[in-house]
């Protein structure tokens, strides 16, 4: 049911290898190009952040596991550009022909626009809507089975390790765009978003310390009230 990116709690990955605080931001020039090309293409307005995350998640498990970080970015971006009809397979193969003017060329991000675009960001909260169902301190249970309830294999932000678990509402973030819907062009469908606190023992068979906890940001439709 889950995809390869959903790796929280997985065994077998070996030690974390910290890098020095002063290490270069981009370990190679092409990393920087990959990031910049991806951000610049986002400004063409053909997809949202959830679509682009899902494009990375939809890389085949073999590609996802063997690709380095920015290889995932650039490969998923390429797939998305074709899927959204920005480029054709012939374009990628080098014989797409010289089109007169690309219909999206007037949306090209200019150097002068960069600072404004980066500084304004893309807030995910939305005003209005019904009051949140849950209050601070209430017990809730996450959906089980997890996964996208609308689209088989679709995008969701409820990690597999936290399905069917009981936690406590720690914080209310307001109403946020629902990625499960927005990633698939089914509308923003904003819902109340909560920080939910789980005891480590609710999530893992073995825990390191009886008071350790994990907090996740979860949308209202991922949760139900736990009465007991």
């Amino acid at each position: 049911m889950s995809r390869v990116h959903d790796m929280g709690g997985r065994f077998g990955d070996g030690p974390v290898v910290p890098d020095a605080e002063g290490a270069p931001v981009f370990a190679a020039d092409w990393h920087a190009r990959a990031l910049a090309v991806t951000l610049a293409c986002g400004s063409l307005g053909q997809w949202n952040i959830d679509t682009s995350r899902h494009a990375r998640e939809r890389l085949s498990p073999k590609d996802y596991a063997r690709f380095s970080y920015y290889e995932k970015w650039i490969s998923a971006l390429t797939d998305l550009l074709v899927e959204k009809d920005v480029l054709t397979l012939d374009d990628l193969a080098g014989d797409g022909g010289a089109c007169a003017v690309h219909p999206l060329a007037d949306r090209r991000l200019s150097a002068a626009q960069v600072q404004g675009v980066l500084a304004s960001g893309g807030p995910a909260d939305r005003a209005g809507g019904p009051a949140p169902l849950f209050q601070m301190g209430q017990k809730v249970r996450t959906r089980h089975p997890g996964g996208n309830a609308m689209v088989a294999g679709g995008h969701t932000r409820l990690p597999a390790y936290a399905t069917g678990a009981v936690g406590v509402i720690e914080r209310l973030h307001g109403r946020h765009v629902l990625p499960d819907s927005a990633a698939h062009d089914l509308g923003e469908a904003p819902e109340p978003l909560y920080a939910v606190r789980f005891a480590a023992s609710e999530l893992w068979a073995q825990t390191e310390h009886p008071r350790d906890e994990v907090v996740l940001d979860l949308w209202e439709s991922y949760l139900s009230l736990e009465d007991r």
């Binding site: 790796m7 929280g8 709690g9 997985r10 990955d13 974390v16 290898v17 910290p18 605080e21 981009f26 190679a28 020039d29 092409w30 920087a32 190009r33 990959a34 990031l35 910049a36 090309v37 951000l39 610049a40 952040i49 995350r53 990375r56 939809r58 380095s68 920015y70 650039i74 490969s75 998923a76 390429t78 797939d79 550009l81 074709v82 480029l87 012939d90 990628l92 010289a98 060329a105 090209r108 991000l109 200019s110 150097a111 960069v114 600072q115 675009v117 980066l118 500084a119 304004s120 960001g121 893309g122 807030p123 995910a124 909260d125 294999g153 390191e208 008071r211 350790d212 994990v214 907090v215």
Partner: protein
């Protein structure tokens, strides 16, 4: 290698592209070597008038030279010095950092979580690599690694040990898995021996890792510990 790529390219071009899963992998039409793959895609997009190389340079310059952990360090130093600032930051971090000019992409909804002797906070994104860009810049390689993403939620203390950090039994760990568009910044504890230090001197003690929760702020040289 190159032959294999040409064969794959020919195969892909004969297949109809499947819209949902990438069963036909359009990306495989580009050269397999990552640096060449980026270059090839950039060239195609530039030739079609869809990206401006000057804009790419501007983006790279911004994240390489302008936006980085020094922004977060400034926020932390102010919080250490000014209780009113700290209270406002804990209440509504987004507004407070916006006033400092640290609002922007991947930092639209900020929450600051405070370390105390009783509780240590640590941030991860198990599903991808969400990170507060306007305050910390582009995440380091280890933050995006499978090992960190997989293990930080299940065995945070073992992960911290790999950063050279051991927490006492009296300190509970709270790991924040950034599953939404909310971005978390850890407010590390102010080190001993920093009484009387000004904002610049304090900011210099604040490390990137201390604001992710995989490290502590530096103790000033010469301070008794």
């Amino acid at each position: 290698m190159l032959n294999k790529w040409w064969t794959e390219r020919a195969r892909l071009r004969q297949h109809r592209f499947m819209p949902h899963d990438h069963s036909d992998h359009p990306h495989a039409l580009l050269p397999p070597e990552p640096a060449l793959r980026v270059k090839a895609l950039e060239t195609i997009l530039r030739d079609k008038g869809l990206i401006d190389p000057a804009a790419l340079e501007e983006i790279i310059d911004t994240y390489q030279n302008k936006i980085g952990p020094q922004n977060g360090a400034r926020v932390v130093a102010k919080a250490w010095l000014d209780d009113g600032f700290r209270a406002a930051l804990m209440q509504d971090a987004t507004s407070v950092v916006r006033d400092l000019g640290f609002y922007g992409r991947q930092g639209e909804h900020m929450v600051v979580v405070e370390n105390t002797p009783d509780r240590h906070n640590m941030v991860v994104c198990t599903l991808c690599s969400c990170y507060p860009w306007p305050l910390l810049g582009i995440p380091p390689g280890w933050y995006k690694s499978d090992a960190y993403r997989a293990r930080a939620v299940r065995e945070p203390r073992k992960v911290l040990a790999e950063f050279g950090m051991t927490l006492p039994d009296s300190t509970a760990v709270r790991v924040w898995d950034s599953t939404a568009e909310v971005r978390y910044l850890v407010l590390p504890m102010r080190p001993e021996g920093t009484e009387g230090m000004d904002e610049d001197a304090l900011a210099a003690l604040v490390t990137r890792d201390s604001m992710i929760g995989t490290g502590l702020a530096h103790v000033p040289k010469g301070a008794a510990t």
